[in-house]
Amino acid sequence: MEIIVEARELKRTYRLDKVEVEALRGVNLAVAEGEFVAIVGASGSGKSTLLHILGLMDTPTSGEALFRGREVAQMSDGERTELRLRDIGFVFQTFNLLPTLTAFGNVEIALRPAGVPRVVRKEKARELLEKVGVGHRLNHLPRELSGGERQRVVIARALANSPKLVLADEPTGNLDSAAGMAIADLFHLLNKEKQTIVLVTHNREITQRATRTLTMRDGQITDAL
C-alpha cells in the first residue's frame, strides 16, 4: 500500500503574543492508502495543527511532513495549491461553503481550477451530491440547508477532484447526534470505497468506524489503537 502522507518528528511552534506555544512536539505518523484514521484528543492537544500540516496548509517548524513521498516544506506555494486541488479534499467543522452559491455551485466550483469541462463539471457535481444524499437540494443556498445537509455538501466538494486523501476537522462538531451519526456513516461508506481519510473528531460514532484511532496529548501521539 502506498503511504499517502507521513510525519517524521514533526514539530510546530507558534508565537502567541510573547509566548511560544509548542503545538506539535515530535509527531510520527504514516497513513497508507485506504486507511481511515481518526485522531482524538482534548482541545489544544495539536490535532488540528497536525491536520493542517498534513493538508499542506501549514508547514512544520522542524521535522518532515511528506505527501506521497515529497517533503511539504520543499514545495512552492503553487505546488502545494496544486496538490490541495487534485489530491486532497477538506471537510471543515464550520462548513465554509460559499454563501452566494447553491449546493450545486459549491461543488462545481471545486472542479473549475482543475480545468474540468463545463458539461463534465455539471454531471459530476450532481452525481456527488446525489451520492452524499443531498441530490434533492441542488439549487438551495447554504443558508437554506440544515447543518447535516451542509456538511454533506462539503463532503461532496471534498470529493470533487477524486482526491487521494480526505482530511476532516471535527466534521460533526456543529451537528446534532443524528446528523453526526449520518455523517459518520457517510465517511465509513467512503472508506469502504477505498477512500483514504484522516479526521479529527470527538465523536465516538466515527472512531468506531475508523480503521485506526490515534490519541493526541500535549502535541504528541500517545496512543494508537
Binding site: M57, R86, F90, T94, T100, L101, I109, A114
Partner: protein, 379 residues
C-alpha cells in the same frame, strides 16, 4: 469565474449599486468636461477664421495674464487717438473699421469659458463685428448712437433670460431689447449683448474712451503694413492681428486644458478610489471565502481574476450609466448647446473600465496574499 463575480456583486446589491453610481458620477463629470473642451476649441477655431484681415489696436497689457486677453476687455484708448487711428491709418477699409468698447457682464465659469460681454459699437458699424448675422427677432441694427437699446446674441438671450420687446438690465439700467440675433456658432457673437457706443460710454461712465479700435485691412497683404504704421505713429499702443489673436486663444486654450485636465484627472482618480475602497472592503469581508477557495485549490491568479472581474463589472456599469448622465448634465448646464461627440462615449467608458481595473488590482493582490489557514480561522 464570470458567473461567480456576478453572483458576488448581486449578493451585495446595495453596495454594488452605490459603487456603480459613484463611478457614474465621475464619468458624468469626465464626459461633461470633455464635451465642454471640444466645444470651446471648435468655437475658437471658428472665431479665428472670423477675424481674417482684422487688427485690434489696444493699450498694452497690464500683466502677463491679460497679455493673452482676447477680446482686449481691459484695454483703454482715449477717443481722440481712436478717431486719429481710424482717420489717418492707410490701407484700411474705413467702413469696416470701428472703435469698440468692451464690458464684461459676468465672470467666466472657468479659464476661457463662456462669459457674456457687452460690445459697444457706433450705429452703422454693427456689421464690422457681427458680419452678416441676421436677426432672429427684431432688428440687427441700432436706431442711432445714443438710444438706450440692446441687440442680444442668441446664447446670451438664453443665459440672461432676455426676450425681444422686453428689457435687459445692464449697469442698473433696464435697456429695451431691439433684437435677438440668429445663432452664428461663434461665441464672440452668440454670447454678446451689443449696445450703441455713445449710449454705452455714458452708461459705463467713460465718455472719452473706448477699449480698442477694430481695423479691417483693405487686403490680406496690407495687414502687416497697417500694423507697422500703427507701431510707428502710436508707439504706446499695441496691435493684435489674426495671428496674435490665435496665439492669445492658444494661451487661453492651454489654461483651459490644464484646468479641465486637472478636473478630469481628479474625476478618474475618484473613480479609482471608489472602486479600490469598495473592493478592499469586499476582500476583507470575504477573507474566509477567499481562504476557503485557496484551501480547496484555487490558484492565486484565479483569485486575482475574480476580484478584478468584479471591479471591472462595477466600473463598466458605472461608465455605461455615466455616459447618459454626462449627456444630461451637458444638456442641463448648457441648455443642449454643447454636442458631445459619439467618439467621447467609448472614451468615457474606457476611462471607467481602466479606473475600475486599476482600483481593483491592489485589493485583488491583497486577496491573493490571504493565507488559507489564517482565513479559515478568521471570524
Amino acid at each position: 469565474m464570470l458567473d461567480i463575480a456576478f453572483k458576488n456583486l448581486w449578493a451585495r446589491k446595495t453596495r454594488s449599486i452605490l459603487t456603480v453610481l459613484g463611478v457614474a458620477v465621475c464619468i458624468m463629470l469626465f464626459l461633461f468636461m470633455v464635451g465642454t473642451t471640444g466645444y470651446v476649441e471648435g468655437n475658437m477655431e471658428k472665431e479665428i477664421a472670423n477675424y481674417t484681415g482684422q487688427i485690434y489696436v489696444k493699450s498694452p497689457a497690464v500683466s502677463g495674464l491679460t497679455g493673452a486677453e482676447f477680446p482686449p476687455v481691459s484695454s483703454v484708448i482715449d477717443s481722440i487717438s481712436a478717431a486719429r487711428i481710424l482717420e489717418e491709418t492707410p490701407g484700411i477699409d474705413r467702413d469696416k473699421s470701428t472703435p469698440v468698447l468692451f464690458r464684461t457682464l459676468n465672470r467666466e465659469p472657468y479659464p476661457g469659458g463662456p462669459r457674456n460681454l457687452a460690445v459697444c459699437l457706433p450705429a452703422g458699424k454693427e456689421a464690422v463685428y457681427i458680419g452678416d448675422t441676421g436677426a432672429a427677432m427684431g432688428s440687427n441694427r441700432f436706431t442711432d448712437d445714443t438710444s438706450a437699446e440692446a441687440i442680444v446674441g442668441k446664447t446670451a438671450a438664453e443665459y440672461l433670460k432676455v426676450e425681444w420687446g422686453k428689457t435687459i438690465s445692464i449697469a442698473g439700467q433696464d435697456i429695451p431689447v431691439r433684437g435677438i440675433l440668429e445663432d452664428t456658432g461663434i461665441q464672440a457673437i452668440n454670447l454678446t449683448v451689443f449696445l450703441p457706443l455713445r449710449y454705452a460710454q455714458n452708461l459705463f461712465r467713460q465718455p472719452d474712451s473706448v477699449s480698442a479700435v477694430l481695423l479691417t485691412a483693405s487686403s490680406a497683404g496690407e495687414v502687416q503694413n497697417v500694423v507697422n504704421d500703427i507701431k510707428t505713429r502710436f508707439p504706446k499702443l499695441e496691435t493684435m492681428s489674426q495671428v496674435e489673436m490665435a496665439k492669445s486663444m492658444d494661451a487661453m486654450l492651454t489654461g483651459m486644458h490644464a484646468f479641465f485636465g486637472g478636473i478630469n484627472a481628479v474625476a478618474a482618480l475618484v473613480a479609482v478610489v471608489v472602486v479600490l475602497v469598495v473592493m478592499f472592503m469586499a476582500v476583507s469581508e470575504r477573507t474566509r471565502e477567499i481562504g476557503t477557495l485557496r484551501a480547496i485549490g484555487a490558484r492565486k491568479r484565479t483569485i486575482l481574476g475574480l476580484i478584478v472581474q468584479e471591479s471591472f463589472f462595477l466600473s463598466l456599469l458605472g461608465g455605461v450609466l455615466g455616459v447618459p448622465l454626462g449627456y444630461l448634465m451637458n444638456a442641463v448646464m448648457y441648455k443642449g448647446l454643447i454636442v458631445i461627440e459619439a467618439a467621447d462615449f467609448p472614451q468615457s467608458i474606457a476611462v471607467a473600465v481602466v479606473a475600475g481595473i486599476v482600483g481593483g488590482l491592489y485589493p485583488a493582490w491583497r486577496a491573493t496574499r490571504i493565507n488559507p489557514l489564517q482565513a479559515l480561522r478568521y471570524e
